[in-house]
């Protein structure tokens, strides 16, 4: 009896499964393609609810169906490689110039010569041949305890290597793409050897082993474990926007600045960007989509949840991003972030920056 019951339970599980799976087409899907509409497939490394709304708006406006695969940039890249000519991907969205360069380097993107896009995106924020275009900006800067430091003491990245910063720095681990891109630009400017020295000195100044995300570093400042942290601007912005009182206090008790490399060099700026794949069926439609991201409406959605800065100067900065101090972008080609990325990780590894 008991064995029978147990067996029955097991079989029910099996049968139920088969029944449940017999019709996968009915299952949750925004992507069930409608035969009458053209389909645009997007491979995105972003995961934001506002993106979903944005995509829905484009679907309605352009009367297309969007298929979206969200995953890590590296995984998307390998997927496209595996799919080769069969890849359904038309547009790639990736949250770092380094990642975009990877796709380009692997021959998965195509050069676009679009006046609309070229006009909209300043030259520093796009790939020179049109392989990819920035759609939002992000800056890596320093959150700090204003009672402890003056902005002058943190105005340049090399100042973090100074002895006065000993035991004061919080930062996340080196494999994070934001740190890699920053290091890539440092290597580009000063060479690996100097970069290694700098990284070694910063490691020596760390208040604790690299851990957690950027937000955790800012919280650690408020908690007093360290007095400055290398973070992207929007994590600081988001804390200020939080409905949680403790988070607001964290933001209120810290300040944020954007250092330069040397005085007047401009600052380390990165982009979230879009590219059109080499397998894109309808290049015009794909261009329309990217152009849509660069409309005012598109820009506001792209930056709404993320706290990124819009690419278009004309777009109103919302959601507290206006608290980010003014900065000038450095003239380093963004493509450098990708080219130097592996070397950057090597430098971090050698410097002992976990």
């Amino acid at each position: 009896m008991t064995l029978k019951t147990q067996l029955f339970a097991g079989l029910t599980l099996l049968v139920g499964t088969v029944a449940a799976c017999s019709n996968p087409a009915d299952t949750p899907t925004e992507g069930a393609s409608d035969e009458t509409q053209p389909v645009l497939t997007i491979y995105s490394s972003r995961h934001y609810d506002s993106d979903k709304e944005l995509f829905a708006m484009f679907e309605e406006e352009a009367e297309v169906t969007l298929n979206v695969r969200e995953s890590g940039a590296s995984q998307l890249l390998e997927t496209m490689r595996a799919e080769a000519d069969q890849s359904p991907a038309d547009v790639i969205i990736a949250a770092d110039a380094g990642s975009l360069w990877r796709f380009q380097d692997a021959g998965l993107t195509q050069a676009i010569n679009s006046d609309v896009l070229n006009d909209a995106v300043p030259a520093v924020y796009r790939e020179s041949e049109g392989h990819w275009y920035g759609v939002a900006r992000r800056v890596r800067g320093i959150a700090y305890d204003p009672d402890r430091w003056t902005p002058e003491e943190l105005a340049r990245w090399d100042l973090l290597a100074g002895e006065d910063k000993a035991g004061e720095i919080c930062v996340r681990s080196s494999s994070n793409i934001y740190n890699l891109s920053l290091m890539s630009e440092i290597i580009h400017r000063y060479g690996s050897e100097t970069a290694e020295e700098w990284a070694g000195a910063v490691v020596g100044n760390m208040a604790r082993n690299p851990q957690g995300g950027d937000t955790d570093q800012i919280r650690a400042i408020a908690a007093g474990e360290c007095s400055l942290a290398i973070v992207n601007h929007y994590y600081w912005i988001r804390l200020g926007n939080s409905e949680n009182e403790a988070d607001q206090q964290v933001a209120a008790s810290t300040a944020f600045l954007i250092p330069e490399f040397v005085e007047g060099s401009g600052s380390h700026v990165n982009v979230t960007g879009a590219a059109i794949t080499h397998t894109a069926d309808d290049v015009d439609l794909a261009q329309d989509f990217i152009a849509f991201l660069l409309t005012e409406q598109g820009q506001s959605y792209v930056t709404r949840d993320t706290g990124e800065l819009p690419l278009l100067d004309t777009t109103a900065v919302t959601n507290g991003a206006d608290k980010v101090p003014a900065f000038t972008a450095s003239d380093t080609q963004l493509i450098v972030y990708g080219e130097n990325q592996a070397e950057a990780q090597r430098v971090f590894d050698v410097a002992g920056w976990n």
């Binding site: 099996l14 997927t79 595996a82 069969q86 995300g213 994590y235």
Partner: protein, 530 residues
């Protein structure tokens, strides 16, 4: 062990071995023959030793913590009566529903320098964060703690079963030879249950070795982290695959070491008829202590982190739009993956009696899949996909995803089934055949009912594991098939922990149903036997 080989020729098991092994070997093959890049040289020179040392250190710590959490609790539950015993017996399996990365989020939030515990402490003591020492979760011991608290049920389940299978006569013989209760535990129960405990521990440690989510979040540079890092930072997936060979070697070493350790020792009771010991009632103080121990374990490994997640959901009023499709995909993929993996595990378990070589080979292949990080298996799938010239969408994607689930988790299903087979009387097979029941008929009427307890446990464990699976699902799911784990990960990687909590909690909830079923079944088996 009965020779349960009748319904199978050796072809199905070989097919299953091929199915389970192919993604791992595709990845390893690409990794090994890709040629040495600059990255590999760098990793070999600078990182391989630290990665490996960190991984081993974490595994050693995890092993000790798992044993400390699981074995005393299993002993108390199986041997003694104390207040709340049946409830604890039930509840101690619950942490299985908790993905490691969710446990890491929850504890990191609680224990962090800005978390509630330390903040309160600073307010109360008037100290600054630099003035005192506090256990750091973002460390190898911290990672081991997180992994152990989600994985200890594996050992708890096997140890408890082993303890309750022990012969009363063996205990009485030991006592008549002067063994006190503590001696019974250390000199009789533990050694006799050791093979079962080692089996569970192997499973748990392989899973711990393959972890990426928790280690990455806590910033502990294990091999799992190094593998993903050499893919994402260095852009060399082949190096990642090659590095994962190290993990597979470690797992293989576990298995072989476990076998050697066991040697020729008997695992089965020699008793013809055995009675399981009646549980003795603990005195009041002992009962309170036992209940206290179980409560502490439950609080640490389940109640506290879950409460913290609930608290965060409420505090931040976290909303997760479109949560229903996520639940649907999670459940469907879980069922589908679990069914196929279950059948694979069944074929493995029943047919691998064909010979010691095939048996060990099958186990090593399954272990390789289990120890490889999901991302590496996903990579293997992509290499295979490349050969087929297909796009990763629709049925192809589901097919590959389910394949990877099977490759990754079959090992977890084989263990409980084989444990059941090992306990069956030797001559049932002959008895059945003497009554003219053979072949498939015998499989349905004799073999399957006999292994049903283990089989149900296997099916449930597979379902829960697949529900929690992240990296392969993230890589291979078709359009529109986001799961709860995928969504939780998406929020968490973007440091929106509050929003990540709701899907995380739902994973735990969805996992609770099968875990409760499993728990109910285990208690039942124990009652029937007593």
């Amino acid at each position: 062990m009965p020779r349960m080989t009748r319904p199978f020729s050796s072809i199905p098991p070989l097919l299953v071995i091929a199915m389970v092994g192919l993604p791992v070997f595709a990845a390893l093959f690409a990794g090994i023959f890709a040629g040495d890049g600059a990255t590999w040289t760098h990793i070999l020179e600078n990182r391989l030793a630290p990665y490996t040392a960190t991984t081993l250190w974490v595994l050693v710590l995890t092993a000790f913590m798992i044993l400390a959490l699981a074995v005393p609790a299993a002993w108390l539950i199986s041997q003694y009566d104390f207040p709340g015993r049946s409830l604890f017996g039930f509840a101690l399996i619950l942490p299985l529903a908790m993905p490691g990365y969710v446990m890491a989020y929850a504890w990191a939030d609680m224990m962090g320098v800005a978390g509630p515990i330390q903040s309160q402490f600073r307010d109360w003591a008037g100290l600054s964060a630099r003035d005192y020492w506090f256990p750091n979760l973002f460390s190898a011991p911290g990672l081991a703690f997180v992994l152990a608290s989600t994985l200890f049920p594996y050992v708890y389940i096997t140890a408890r079963a082993a303890f309750s299978m022990q012969s009363l006569a063996t205990f009485e013989a030991a006592r008549s030879l002067g063994a006190r209760p503590m001696d019974l535990f250390w000199r009789v129960a533990i050694p006799a249950a050791t093979p079962a405990i080692i089996g569970g521990l192997c499973l748990a440690l392989m899973e711990a070795a393959a972890d990426y989510g928790a280690a990455d979040f806590l910033g502990v540079p294990t091999l799992g982290v190094g593998i993903i890092r050499s893919w994402t930072s260095f852009g060399e997936p082949n190096t990642a695959a090659r590095l994962s060979l190290m993990l597979i070697l470690i797992a293989g070493t576990f298995l072989v070491a476990a076998r050697l350790f066991q040697g020729q020792r008997g695992t089965q009771n020699t008793s013809v008829r055995w009675r399981t010991p009646d549980r003795s009632k603990l005195p009041v103080l002992g009962g309170v202590a036992a209940a206290g121990l179980c409560t502490t374990i439950l609080l640490i490994c389940f109640a506290l982190p879950v409460s913290r997640l609930v608290w965060l959901v409420i505090e931040y009023q976290a909303r997760a739009p479109d949560i229903v499709p996520l639940i649907q995909s999670s459940l469907i993929l879980g069922c589908l993956g679990a069914s196929v993996a279950f059948i694979a595990a069944l074929v493995f378990s029943l047919a691998t009696k064909r010979g010691e070589t095939l048996r060990l080979g099958a186990r090593l292949v399954a272990a390789a899949g289990y120890a490889a990080p999901g991302a590496v298996l996903g990579l293997g799938a992509l290499y295979i996909l490349r050969e087929t010239g297909q796009a990763l969408s629709g049925a192809v994607a589901i097919g590959f995803l389910v394949w990877i689930y099977v490759s990754r988790f079959t090992s977890a299903g084989v263990e409980p089934i084989q444990a059941t087979i090992a306990r069956l009387p030797k001559n049932l097979d002959q008895a059945s055949r003497s009554l003219g029941v053979t072949g498939l008929n015998q499989f349905w009427r004799v073999d399957l009912p006999l292994i049903a307890p283990g089989a149900v446990a296997a099916a449930l464990i597979l379902f829960v594991e697949i529900l929690k699976e992240l990296p392969a699902t993230l890589m291979l799911r078709p359009f529109g098939w986001d799961t709860l784990a995928v969504r939780a990960h998406a929020y968490a990687t973007d440091e929106r922990l509050a929003q990540a909590t709701l899907p995380s909690l739902l994973i735990v909830l969805a996992g609770l149903v099968p875990v409760l079923l499993l728990s109910w079944r285990l208690s039942r088996t124990e009652r029937i036997k007593a």
